[in-house]
Subunit: 164 residues, 2 copies
């Protein structure tokens, strides 16, 4: 019986470790636990850095998309980018499909909490090990610097892809 | 009061019409009602016909992906492709993003029901109006003809994209 308790305790510990094993970003932002279940907002093929990206959103973001309320995006909306390296497939010319998983990127809308960076919090995690990006909290200046190009679009590059 | 009943009846009728307004494919397959909520399996940039595609799956398909049980895919798995025409964005070289919605394509795994076409039922709906593709049920020969190239992979072209 005692052994059973030990096994049970180990299982619980493992499960907690699994949930907690991804370190937060240097600015304290935590990886959303359910992002792999989020729904599609759009898709992007970047030729400059040879990646394929699917843009997904949490429930608040998807609701905003479907209601056409994304200029500006509402507080609570979170947008994620699943990013892969690429390879070609022989079936259709040089068509391009995902190779290795590269990273997952997020922007979190909270106009008060993140007022100094356009109302968005930034974070990304690299590779299958989900290593947080950035040496310290200043990494967001790099993110925000680039997103400033999209200031007229609430600092967001993605336009929701049309669906029926 | 009578007017209220009429309004209520009209609203109910409209809602039923909205749900039923997409015609089935010529082989009788019905458009899945919730496909816009399905989760991501992979992504594809086809250069031969200039489209971007996000591949999504119903719950059974996603479970199979996460359990690594896709060779063969289980009965009940349905795989969808959201397909867009493309345009370029100036921010990152000639990066490619969705333009107009082109179509949604599905394959439905039922090894008994669809035994003559590799265990898969085929259907697609075109454009925002979701017009069923195909003049009659023979359209599946065109689909299956192409998918025969992927016979070694359970007639499926897509490989689930790796995720952490």
């Amino acid at each position: 019986m005692k052994n059973l308790y030990i096994v049970a305790a180990l299982l619980v510990t493992q499960s907690v470790l699994a949930a907690d094993s991804v370190a937060p970003a240097p600015n304290g932002i935590v990886l959303p636990t359910d992002y792999k279940d989020w729904r599609v907002i759009s898709v992007l093929r970047r030729t400059d850095n040879d990646t394929l990206r699917v843009i997904v959103g949490n429930d608040r973001a998807i609701r905003a998309v479907r209601e056409g309320q994304t200029k500006p995006w509402p507080n609570g909306a979170t947008i994620g980018k699943l990013v892969w390296r690429t390879k070609t497939r022989p079936e259709w010319g040089d068509s391009i499909v995902p190779d290795k998983f590269q990273e997952v990127e997020f922007i979190f809308k909270d106009s008060e909490k993140f007022s100094t960076t356009g109302g968005w919090g930034f974070a990304k995690w690299l590779g299958k090990k989900q290593t947080p990006y950035g040496d310290d909290a200043h990494f967001v200046l790099e993110c925000f610097g680039c997103h400033t190009l999209a200031k007229e679009n609430d600092y967001v590059f993605v336009e929701p892809a049309p669906l029926p």
